[in-house]
Symmetry: C2
Subunit: 178 residues, 2 copies
């Protein structure tokens, strides 16, 4: 149940470059595709990840380290729809990469021990959580959105694959938004 911080960081430090490799200069048919109404395009996902670097992970980590007993501030999960306006996907990818770099430098500077990973905070909806679970969530949240980007792109060709559709199980994941 306890994470190894070096293993977590190994994923966190790769995510911006992974998404930049997959998405930089990609034709709009992919970058702005959605898997259904109310779902997010790869462009929207990168904007969201960028927002989370600003408002979620490190601010909440600091909140726990400071020994705050009040709950974390709630998040705005759709801030990217206003904050990304007018920015290219390349700009969002670069900003995400820079913010992640800064946040991992701050994480390293904190020099957290395995005991620190057991420190507790109060989530506004989920209640009692640990610092270790927050870091694990940071990792899984990255991977969830990487998988979402690949799934959303795959669905652009949902019809074009013809009878092969039967073998491409990703086309049947999450048929509905949410």
């Amino acid at each position: 149940m306890s994470i190894n911080l070096a293993d977590a960081v190994a994923v966190l430090e790769r995510t911006p470059a992974t998404l930049a490799t997959l998405l930089s200069d990609l034709p709009e048919v992919w970058a702005f595709s959605r898997e259904g109404e109310g779902t997010w395009s790869p462009y929207d996902v990168v904007g969201h990840l960028m927002q989370c670097e600003r408002t979620n992970w490190i601010p909440r980590l600091r909140h726990i380290i400071a020994g705050e007993t009040k709950p974390f501030a709630p998040l705005n999960r759709t801030a990217q729809f206003t904050d990304s306006r007018g920015k290219s996907l390349g700009e969002l990818l670069a900003t995400f990469s820079e913010l992640r770099r800064q946040n991992l430098a701050e994480l390293a500077a904190l020099g957290l021990s395995s005991e620190d990973l057991g420190r507790r905070g109060l989530h506004p909806d989920l209640g009692d959580v640990t610092l270790g679970a927050l870091v694990a969530t940071w990792v899984v949240h990255d991977l969830d959105h990487v998988a979402q980007v690949a799934r959303t792109m795959a669905k652009v060709y949902a019809e074009e694959v013809g009878p092969w559709r039967a073998y491409l199980s990703i086309l049947r994941d999450r048929r509905n938004p949410g």
Copy 2:
């Protein structure tokens, strides 16, 4: 229903570098993780993608271009379990990248027209298929396996995220093998 070859190639040419960025030198806890018995680790997936470059996409494309009326040769979907033996993940990633580069060079050299995309072949199980659907399947197959790698890695921390599990929908995708 008809694909644009340049859009398809834009994804195909990015996949090896995307996987190399995500997986190179990644701790074994991620690279050899599985999401359940009988499922594939990221290491297994890269071996499978490498095999497909050798035996699936371009050989079948050539088969159609040659006007063959007999069905495609069936594929061996588990060849990676013998062929990857003794090879490091880095070696598999490098071989996949080199084979993909060669295959995209061959695809470009064929100079396929949009009419060629409608040429037909016979799949041993699925029956009548088009060359366009084969190329679309090559793309979706890449993305399916990228999503699988991210999902498999995410599940390493299925418990460690604690109550955040409720928000991380990827942890509920494909609970069972298959």
